[in-house]
Symmetry: C2
Subunit: 304 residues, 2 copies
């Protein structure tokens, strides 16, 4: 069922191309237009028939669109906004899929006409892979899409965007943008930072060779390498645009880690046990909430 | 093919019961004896027919055994050694599966007769689940088993134990015990500590509710919950017995994390990008080495 006449997706990487596939599969618009600044991937986008029309010019791509989705690294939003702002139709909904939300208003408001509905969004879904080939339409199924409209947002535009994400298979949560940035700092940004960090630490050791790190990674290390394989540009931009919340959560993480470190140094087994014993329950709750699979070892292949 | 006449496994949790299954499947001994101090699980052990005989008395279980494997948390080794020491047969191989190796000699040497071959071992394999029901015979397939014999170890006993682990499906690496403890500190112990820590930090937040942490865990957090669901007693003992190497690796991790934190605070996008870009390759190398599967998102289920 068409929820919009014309949708434009700017950026056809993992998320943009997954949305394009879902939109096509569910016929959520009559015309789907795409734009991607990286011309090297245009052939793949066309081969995969991800969009009805892949425009060469950004300003052309958004003309007459009823919904425009930014699906690029968030660091590009200001320059995108400056280019597309004058070409957006009155009453259009402008949204995005970025992992930070408060800064979106600051970056786009200067360029976006008052008669355009700016409703930032964030589907909490993804894989460690990048690019149009990595996308798939079920990426958003049973995941949460967070919308962070301003207080004075047009309710019917918010409702329509909510239906859109539900049609892609998501649950939708409306949230204050600043609160979003705190929630995601602990559930996503700091975990990525720590994963990048430990993989970096391991790589730089002199006493332990890289081949040893690789051979014995099944001891736990390999679990961190998945999110540490995520797109570096996207993640650079996340940290630069969610500085306050990330630094706050990182401060708490560091305090807690210092306490654990001290417990190890002082042979305080009871303190260690108490912490290790509580964390098990959270995984069970995540599985119960349908946000994780209930098989051991992430269901890694264990048979011959 | 029977590699030993009689094998005794002390502790029939995830690792011990997986070994028992593999031993039975490959007929690696004529008699397989088990002991587990937790009588609550005896019924399950017997129902699953994991061993030929489940002894009630620890000292009985090791009598005439040609191979004795300790598969309990490492904190129990000293008291186990004191009890079994006088009952071990001359020429028996005593090994274990603990995640730390240097301390094993210190804990067991006082109690073990000179004519027993103490050859500590560590299969770098596991899941986040515990207990005899969680085990499976293919757990060790294509994983590495590390043996850390003393310099004066009996070579034929080492060779026989090597064959044993190879028969269970593992690759075998001979390593110096102190070096093992450093390698595993970075590939396993510190990753577990960090995972436990971030799950703990998230649980204790006031501004972000626990239900938000659970709902939006697909942003990356849930990857950490798997190893943070590991057995708390086992992990308490690992940290207490590998203090020096863990504190050293943790110190390096902290230095690197401080550098990342500083880069975020000072908006140094180039420094962030440089680190994030390098870590991707390590995952690919782990996959190429057969220590991780090559599907996105750990192969989590993405279809309806």
């Amino acid at each position: 069922m068409a929820l919009y006449e014309k949708i434009t997706i700017i950026g056809l990487g993992l998320i943009g191309s997954s949305m394009a596939r879902g939109i096509k599969e569910k016929n959520l618009c009559k015309t789907l237009v795409g734009f991607d600044a990286n011309e090297d991937i245009h052939e793949v986008i066309n081969q995969l028939k991800l969009v009805d029309r892949l425009d060469k010019k950004l300003s052309d791509s958004v003309k007459d669109a009823d919904l425009v989705i930014l699906a690029t690294p968030v660091g590009a939003y200001s320059s995108l906004g400056e280019i597309i702002g004058p070409h957006l139709k009155k009453g259009t909904t402008l949204s995005d899929v970025g992992s930070i939300k408060n800064a979106v208003f600051k970056m786009l408001n200067p360029y976006i006409p008052k008669n355009v509905h700016l409703i930032p969004g964030h589907p909490v879904a993804g894989t460690e892979q990048s690019g149009p080939k990595a996308g798939f339409s079920s990426l958003f199924h049973d995941r949460w899409a967070i919308l962070t409209p301003a207080d004075d947002a047009d309710q019917s535009a918010v409702d329509q965007l909510t239906k859109f994400w539900q049609a892609l298979g998501s649950n939708v949560e409306i949230m204050d943008p600043a609160h979003h940035d705190k929630v995601l700092a602990i559930t996503s940004h700091v975990p990525h930072l720590i994963a990048y960090n430990i993989v970096g630490t391991a790589r730089d050791l002199e006493e332990v060779t890289k081949s040893e790190v690789i051979k014995f990674s099944a001891g736990g290390f390999r679990d961190f390498t998945r999110i540490a394989a995520s797109d570096p540009t996207m993640w650079r931009d996340v940290f630069l645009h969610n500085k306050d919340a990330v630094l706050e959560m990182l401060g708490r993480f560091n305090e807690d880690l210092t306490a654990l470190q001290r417990a190890i140094r002082w042979d305080d087994g009871d303190a260690l046990y108490e912490i290790f014993e509580k964390t098990r329950r959270i995984r069970k709750q995540i599985i119960d909430a349908g946000q994780e699979q209930d098989v051991a070892d992430f269901g890694r292949h264990h048979e011959d």
